[in-house]
């Protein structure tokens, strides 16, 4: 697994890391909870046929500036800047979990900005009948199982690599969680339901069948709410961050959809 190319772009005066790898048509990726503390096998699969561009949302690993964002409008405009400055305007966009909610917002509010859309268990809705679990109130030993079907996958994502700064690494992981909380506290409900009907891009919705955080029934709400042609696929043996649990299956499904 070779390293991606690292650049940074400026959003509201704060640097946000952009990782780029591969060749072919551009594909943007907005990561889920925890962000991208390291490059992933899932992104390598995509990079085999596409130029994968993964900008870090403000506050996620490699980026700061979440502290400037007070409202959902602030967040949406920050993500729009990030997309533009990373050269992703008009490209295909893949978003997962918290990143999925923002990918959906981009397609809804700036329709020209997103060619085809793939959403992996996106945030943004809340169902009283089937409440989502709380990612910000979990004991340490419970959290990995909430993030992935195989909790080890989450643990591996957030564990410090060799040579990491032992003080700054945990702070960076907490910051990613704070950034997510800042945008989605307390229920993950951003009112996205009202805007789903604005999404005209052909959309693939992927959901892990063992998502313990956002019930797979939410997938149906996205599929019926989105105006453009949408298709739903359930990923077997995958949890909330399905791209960690089943990188090959998820990458194949995404590439099939993007064509």
């Amino acid at each position: 697994m070779s390293e991606p190319v690292t650049t940074t772009v400026d959003v509201n005066g704060f640097a946000c890391r952009v990782w780029t790898k591969g060749s072919g048509p551009k594909l943007g990726f907005l990561a889920g909870l925890g962000g991208l503390p390291r490059w992933l096998p899932f992104l390598d699969r995509l990079a085999e046929t596409r130029t994968v561009i993964a900008p870090s949302l403000p506050g996620y690993p490699g980026a700061t500036g979440h502290t400037e964002l007070d409202t959902h409008l602030d967040w949406v405009l920050a993500v729009r800047q990030l997309i533009d400055k990373a050269g992703l305007a008009g490209a295909d966009l893949v978003g997962a979990s918290v990143g999925g909610a923002f990918a959906a917002e981009m397609a809804a509010i700036f329709p020209g900005h997103v060619r085809r859309l793939a959403l992996i268990a996106p945030f943004g809705l809340f169902d009283d009948e089937e409440p989502a679990a709380d990612p910000w109130a979990q004991r340490k030993e419970v959290l990995p199982g909430l993030m992935c079907a195989d909790g080890e996958k989450w643990t591996a994502l957030v564990s410090p690599p060799e040579g990491a700064n032992s003080i700054e690494w945990p702070i960076e992981m907490t910051r990613a969680s704070e950034a997510a909380a800042r945008a989605f506290w307390p229920l993950g409900n951003t009112g996205l339901q009202k805007r789903l009907g604005l999404i005209a891009s052909p959309t693939l919705i992927l959901w892990g069948d063992r998502d313990a955080l956002l019930p797979p029934s939410y997938a149906r709400k996205f599929a019926t709410g989105i105006n453009g042609a949408s298709r739903l696929e359930i990923i077997a043996d995958a949890g909330h961050l399905a791209y960690l649990d089943q990188p090959d299956t998820v990458a194949r499904a995404v590439l099939r959809h993007l064509g």
């Binding site: 979440h66 502290t67 007070d70 910000w136 109130a137 979990q138 004991r139 340490k140 419970v142 032992s166 003080i167 945990p170 702070i171 907490t174 910051r175 969680s177 704070e178 950034a179 997510a180 909380a181 800042r182 506290w185 307390p186």
Partner: protein, 424 residues
């Protein structure tokens, strides 16, 4: 020194197997455990106890704010304080305090505190805590990443509402109000009621208290031994900032159980202390650290501190040690001071001097302590301990104490006469 009588108002009838059957005393404590008819008696007992403490000459009675909490039945301490304003005469009323970010708009706090100050003739101490994670982020759903900013802005707004003479517009990041003009306004207007800040041990809070000239209060349940490092840190920071060591810059919370002898104290206070440290502090760890609640600077110093502690084997008060739930460890750890009056005198003098704290907030009721035992503890302390410790810090002026109206100018509140209503 000032001796202040603090009530947490714990629910006193949590079942014995509470810890086994229930994950948390806070946030999601089950409603089936709450019997409103029993709470009727608890509230009235607790208010009797506060009034009794005032009668016995404690300098202040203190109340605080908690939400969804089995050991703190005061979502609104202001309700209790307003009742105390009528049923006490000279005692300071310390509301410790209102978590500013939970009030929308925060001018509500400026108004209610002004009401209490007016009703009481200027006896209010205004406490402004950020509030615990459980109260603010979970029970009240506040965003942990915005909480501190909102708190600081609300503080600015409340203070301006108290001091600005003209109606003004407040154009804040989180609060925007076209017409701010609170009515009533506090009696203590030179410049405003004393502001006290209960906080953890963060350097930012210490610096802010010094800059604003507020009292810093360390309200730990773990007593003076565990609190020593924090208070030393506070005083070191004051020295760096060129502030004097006036002990009235600080407040500290301490549990006490006094009786005729140490053995009698153990007999009386073991059950309520073990109830408190066992059942009342049974908080689910998942509610401890909402992301963003602790600033990155404090996280950084915390991680560095842990590394230093790990390197320093002799470190006494590590977090792991703060788990005692049996009386021997509770007493050995200094969470609860117990003994005969003279033994307690000696310990209180030691606590006050070693921490250099002029405002000692005493918890003389804790856990399921009965009203009789609470009154006994309160009376014995007032009669046999207080006179022997009051002299401490006489050389310092308490510049942070309420300045009420002169006694002769204050309203005469008629004594409550229950026989009138009983005769109806």
């Amino acid at each position: 020194m000032k001796l202040m009588w603090f009530h947490l108002m714990p629910y006193t009838e949590l079942p014995e197997d509470f810890n086994k059957k229930h994950p948390s005393v806070w946030v999601d404590i089950h409603s089936s455990l709450f019997d409103p008819r029993r709470a009727h008696h608890m509230y009235n007992d607790f208010m009797d106890e506060l009034e009794y403490a005032a009668e016995l000459g404690y300098d202040a009675v203190c109340v605080n704010e908690h939400h969804s909490n089995g050991y703190g039945l005061m979502p609104s301490p202001n309700l209790i304080a307003s009742s105390l304003a009528r049923r006490t005469t000279d005692t300071a009323l310390c509301v410790m305090g209102n978590s500013l970010a939970l009030y929308n708009p925060p001018t509500r706090v400026a108004e209610e505190f002004a009401m209490i100050d007016c009703i009481s003739g200027g006896r209010l101490i205004a406490g402004f805590p950020v509030g615990s994670p459980m109260d603010t982020c979970y029970a009240y759903g506040q965003n942990p990443s915005l909480l501190r900013e909102r708190y600081l802005e609300a503080h600015d707004l409340v203070k301006k509402a108290w001091t600005e003479k003209e109606t003004f517009a407040f154009n804040g990041r989180y609060n925007q109000q076209r017409y701010v003009n609170i009515w009533p306004r506090p009696i203590q207007n030179d410049p405003h009621p004393p502001i006290w800040i209960p906080g953890g041990g963060s350097i930012e809070t210490w610096r802010w208290c010094a800059e604003m000239d507020y009292v810093y209060c360390y309200l730990s349940y773990y007593g003076y031994k565990a609190g020593l490092a924090t208070m030393q840190g506070f005083w070191n920071e004051m020295e760096k900032l060129g502030k004097d060591r006036n002990p009235y810059r600080a407040g500290f919370l301490q549990f006490v159980g006094v009786a005729e002898s140490r053995q009698q104290a153990l007999d009386l206070y073991t059950e309520p202390a073990e109830y408190f440290y066992g059942r009342c502090l049974h908080v689910d760890a998942r509610f401890a650290t909402p992301p963003g609640y602790v600033t990155e600077a404090t996280q950084r110093s915390g991680i560095q501190g842990m590394m230093q502690k790990a390197a320093n084997v002799a470190s006494p008060a590590t977090k792991a040690a703060l788990k005692a739930t049996n009386m021997k460890d509770i007493v050995d750890g200094g969470y609860v001071l117990i003994g005969s009056p003279d033994e307690v005198v000696e310990q209180i003098r030691h606590v006050a001097k070693s921490l250099n704290v002029g405002h000692l907030m005493l918890l003389l009721q804790y856990g399921n302590m009965s009203k009789d035992t609470t009154k006994y503890n309160t009376r014995l302390f007032a009669e046999k301990v207080m006179p022997k410790v009051k002299d401490l810090f006489g050389e310092w002026e308490d510049k942070w104490w309420p300045k009420p109206m002169a006694k002769g100018q204050r309203a005469a509140v008629p004594a409550f006469r229950p026989q009138l209503s009983a005769a109806e």
